[in-house]
């Protein structure tokens, strides 16, 4: 493992970015499979095979392209493209803020896709997705701010190389990030815009009018995003490789556990609680940190 780590560090920026583009969907798909398996076991079911997400996507890709307007697939393609781009930036070690803004751009395209089909269900989903985005965005920016305060750099490469345990300086920021990670992973209680749990969904939220190959793209984008977000979790523990991998796994399982135990919140509660938690945990952490550094 350490050997692999060394090897990765010797790679150039482009090589690392390329590695993300190729490996992330495989890893993300596997994670999605594990997610489903664990969820099923927790519910006392047997669950699908771990590779099931790949079969699903392959099947979706072969389906007929059914649309309601000619341009609806374009925002989704851009959504995928910019998510890959932000992930590549992140794993290449570039600027964390740039990654975040690029990811926000990707998310905006997804929302616009939901709006442009002008179906009432998808409109509602897009509106909710927007509220979710607004809810989590401050915390994501504050995560980058906090990391900068500790390490003195926005570069992912520098943050990853930082010698001290980031999480000990940023416990509040880490807690806040965990909170919004539930939104980003589209897990209950924050899966307002589209849910994997059919029993709490009005039709299919923002993806109502997306089917076949386009739905496959949305799924793949989610895989990429999962890997990118777990990468940010990794940064909090980057001082020790094994601990970091352990914590990333723990966080992933924790999100599944949260998903199991909550029913969907109303959007009001989601929005307010997220902003409140961001202020209480994230913002206070950042202010304290800057006071301590004076």
């Amino acid at each position: 493992m350490n050997g692999i780590y060394k090897l990765i560090q010797e790679w150039s920026i482009l090589e690392r970015a390329l590695a993300f583009v190729l490996i992330a969907p495989l890893a993300g798909g596997m994670l999605a499979g594990i997610d489903r398996k664990v969820t099923a076991r927790l519910q006392g079911r047997y669950g699908p095979p771990v590779l099931q997400p790949f079969f699903d996507v392959l099947k979706l890709l072969r389906k007929e392209r059914i649309i309601v307007n000619k341009f609806q697939d374009f925002p989704i393609v851009l959504f995928l493209f910019f998510t890959i781009f932000s992930g590549a930036l992140f794993f290449a070690g570039a600027d964390l803020l740039l990654t975040i803004f690029s990811l926000a751009l990707a998310g905006t395209f997804f929302i616009l896709g939901g709006f442009c089909v002008s179906s009432p269900y998808s409109h509602l989903g897009a509106e909710r997705e927007l509220i979710q985005t607004v809810a989590y965005e401050p915390m994501i920016i504050l995560t980058a701010v906090g990391m900068y305060q500790v390490t003195g750099s926005f570069k992912v490469a520098d943050i990853a190389q930082y010698h001290g345990p980031l999480v000990l300086s940023l416990p509040g920021v880490f807690a806040g990030f965990l909170y919004i990670l539930t939104i980003k992973f589209r897990k209950s209680p924050f899966d307002l815009s589209m849910s994997h749990h059919a029993h709490q969904e009005i039709v299919r939220g923002i993806t109502t009018e997306f089917s076949g190959p386009t739905l496959a793209l949305i799924e793949i984008t989610h895989w990429y995003e999962t890997v990118l977000l777990l990468g940010i979790v990794y940064l909090f523990f980057a001082f020790n490789l094994w601990l970091a991998i352990g914590m990333v796994t723990a966080v992933f399982l924790f999100e599944i556990f949260i998903d199991m135990n909550f029913a969907r919140f109303k959007w009001q509660l989601t929005f307010l609680s997220t902003w409140l938690f961001t202020a209480v945990a994230g913002a206070s952490n950042i202010i304290l940190l800057s006071l301590m550094r004076r």
């Binding site: 649309i67 697939d73 570039a94 009432p120 509106e127 927007l130 701010v145 009018e209």
Partner: protein, 630 residues
């Protein structure tokens, strides 16, 4: 120097011509077009001439000119008294009198005052001149197409279109005066001129609502003017200086109070809390007025002055208060904008929000902060004027400026919507325009002021909210035929819209050039250093931008014409579709669907947040003055 005088005097001449030459003549349009071209070219000429040169100061002293300006000031004061008496409002009379009193005191105390350099030009002035010249003249061009339609919609109004053009060009002249004046008395003179012009333009429609808004704007700006004049008296009595460049070289302890007074006047003009209600009220005026006030004149004059005097306040408590006032304005107006469905009001709040960010940067006054402030000024001016002009067209075509009425706009006015989306992308989408500046602003604030970083994080999210839902609204597409009403848009409106749309894109692409060749030299003059911007980041940003510029049109063409491999169905409505917006529901009932956006009135309602902003910022303002006095 001739170019500077030309830029101040030429619009004045044109404004008089516009007043005299009767409308409807072809010659008038020709004069207008030629004048606008000249107003675009001269600032570019200035840029080229001074690209490799430092600031230049010019001596221009004339007793006659001073007396002339004083007479105009007198006339303006009496005019304000006259209109106020006529409409039975007494606050402006009091303020105008106070202002006049202060100015007369200054005039009598300053016998033998020697002003060495009355005019000056540096990179910052040139940036402003380009904004005023290019955007201002694009708006004036738009007026030619807009005004006839405006009168067609408001048949009862008395036709005063000559008067309208007169005021627009006068405004531009005053703006050029502000940005080139080194003599503070001149600066004050032009400052007051913009106040009066904005008052007359906002009240142009001459009904009850616009009178109300016009007087509100007048009152607030007169308060700013009184404080400005008081600042000048303080400055002159304590140091005997009446020039901007000398003011900056004086001992900071001595000139802090005058600087704070000037910054306060700037705050009023740039509509920061607690004075932001005049700008939101100003939307009753015809759209070109809003475009002019919001983008290239008035509010930009405010931040211009604040940025100019900011070095005096650096690292003082007053500056910290200024940062917070900017921050509060930025955050609260961004939140209020979420709750607004009136397109012009959304634009107005977004303007205040962006200006708040600029004011906060000015308060911080480090090289990086000023760098992003200047970029914000540029990007905001271009994109915001474009958006206002688009809303003006939409209002005339749809008969409404409510965002909720803009469903399927992309089908009804396709090209206009495309232009509008360019402007919106410039306002909030990474990596275009504003977001680059926000990025640097965030970096500038983290070190010194983490509270601002937090405000920025929340404010950015709010900004994204109201832009995205608006953008989603106008780009929704339905099945079936919709009447295209675009051919009714006049050529006089298309040309400025296209100019501004192209400018928006060009400014984004040229941002490395603007940064390295124009802003960095300016910062070098002021701070002796320039912010270190990561070239790799700039490269990435440019790659994304270029990528978007290539991918977006190609992608749209591909999906429009090439990709034929699809089966098209109606949207899912939860019943049997009758057409795209009606379906057959239970018991064979016909149901109609309607889609509305979320406005979250309960959380971000105007009344609620507005008062919070006023309370907080009023307190901060008093602390700012207190800090300057002690």
């Amino acid at each position: 120097m001739n170019a500077l005088i030309f830029l101040i005097v030429f619009p004045l001449v044109i404004s008089l011509l516009a007043r005299v030459v009767p409308h409807g003549l072809v010659i008038k349009n020709i004069i207008g077009v030629c004048a606008n071209i000249a107003l675009c070219i001269v600032p570019i000429y200035l840029l080229v001439t001074y690209l490799n040169r430092g600031p230049a100061y010019f001596n221009l002293e004339s007793k006659a000119l001073d007396i002339g300006m004083f007479l105009v000031e007198l006339f303006v004061a009496f005019y304000i008294v006259y209109v106020s008496v006529r409409s039975k409002r007494y606050l402006p009379i009091f303020l105008a009198a106070a202002q006049l009193l202060v100015m007369v005191t200054l005039e009598f105390n300053s016998h033998g005052m020697h002003v060495e350099h009355s005019l000056f030009v540096d990179k910052f002035s040139i940036i402003m001149a380009l904004i005023v010249g290019i955007i201002g003249s694009a708006i004036c061009l738009y007026v030619i197409g807009y005004i006839p339609e405006y009168y067609a919609h408001h048949k009862k109004l008395q036709d005063r279109r000559n008067y309208f053009s007169f005021l627009m060009y006068l405004f531009l002249s005053a703006m050029f005066g502000i940005i080139f004046s080194n003599n503070l008395k001149w600066l004050y003179f032009f400052w007051e001129l913009t106040t009066v012009c904005s008052f007359l333009l906002i009240g142009f429609k001459d009904d009850k609502a616009s009178q109300e808004s016009a007087f509100r704007a007048l009152n607030m700006n007169l308060v700013g003017g009184v404080v400005f004049a008081t600042g000048l008296v303080c400055l002159y009595s304590s140091s005997g200086v009446m020039e901007l460049d000398k003011l900056l070289r004086l001992d900071k302890g001595v000139v802090l109070l005058p600087a704070v007074c000037l910054a306060f006047a700037g705050m009023v003009k740039s509509a920061q809390f607690p004075f932001c209600s005049w700008l939101t009220g100003a939307m009753v005026a015809p759209t070109p007025v809003s475009a002019l006030l919001h983008s290239s004149t008035m509010v930009k004059a405010g931040v211009y002055l604040i940025l100019r005097v900011a070095p005096v306040m650096e690292n003082t408590l007053a500056a910290k208060m200024l940062i917070l006032i900017g921050g509060v304005s930025f955050l609260i107006t961004a939140l209020i904008a979420i709750s607004q469905s009136n397109a012009k009001k959304v634009l107005a709040y977004s303007t205040i929000s962006n200006l708040g960010l600029i004011v906060a940067c000015a308060g911080l006054n480090t090289d990086a902060a000023v760098w992003s402030a200047l970029l914000l000024i540029i990007f905001h001016a271009v994109a915001k004027s474009l958006l206002f002009l688009c809303v003006g067209v939409i209002e005339n075509k749809l008969g409404s400026r409510d965002i909720e009425d803009m469903d399927y706009l992309i089908m009804r006015l396709p090209r206009l919507t495309a232009i509008m989306m360019t402007g919106m992308a410039g306002m909030f989408l990474a990596p275009f325009g504003m977001i680059i500046s926000k990025f640097i602003t965030l970096k500038a604030f983290i070190e010194s002021n983490p509270v601002m970083a937090i405000i920025l994080a929340y404010g950015s999210a709010a900004t994204m909210f109201f832009w995205t839902k608006w953008m989603g609204k106008i780009m929704s597409i339905k099945h079936g035929v919709t009447e295209v009403i675009e051919h009714k848009v006049s050529r006089w409106e298309w040309v400025p819209l296209c100019i501004l749309a192209v400018t928006t894109v060009l400014v984004c692409l040229a941002f490395p050039f603007i940064s390295f060749r124009v802003i960095d030299p300016y910062l070098l003059e002021v701070f002796g250093k320039t912010p270190v911007v990561d070239t790799f980041n700039i490269l990435i940003v440019l790659i994304i931008m270029l990528g978007m510029l290539i991918i977006l049109p190609l992608g749209l063409l591909y999906y429009a014409f090439v990709n034929k491999n699809y089966k098209r169905v109606g949207t899912y409505l939860g019943g049997g579709n009758i057409d795209n917006i009606t379906f057959e529901g239970a018991f064979a009932s016909t149901q109609k669907i309607e889609m509305k956006n979320y406005y979250l009135e309960k959380y971000f309602g105007e009344e609620r947040l507005f008062n919070v902003g006023v309370f907080v910022s009023l307190t901060l303002t008093f602390v700012m003055f207190g800090a300057a006095v002690i």
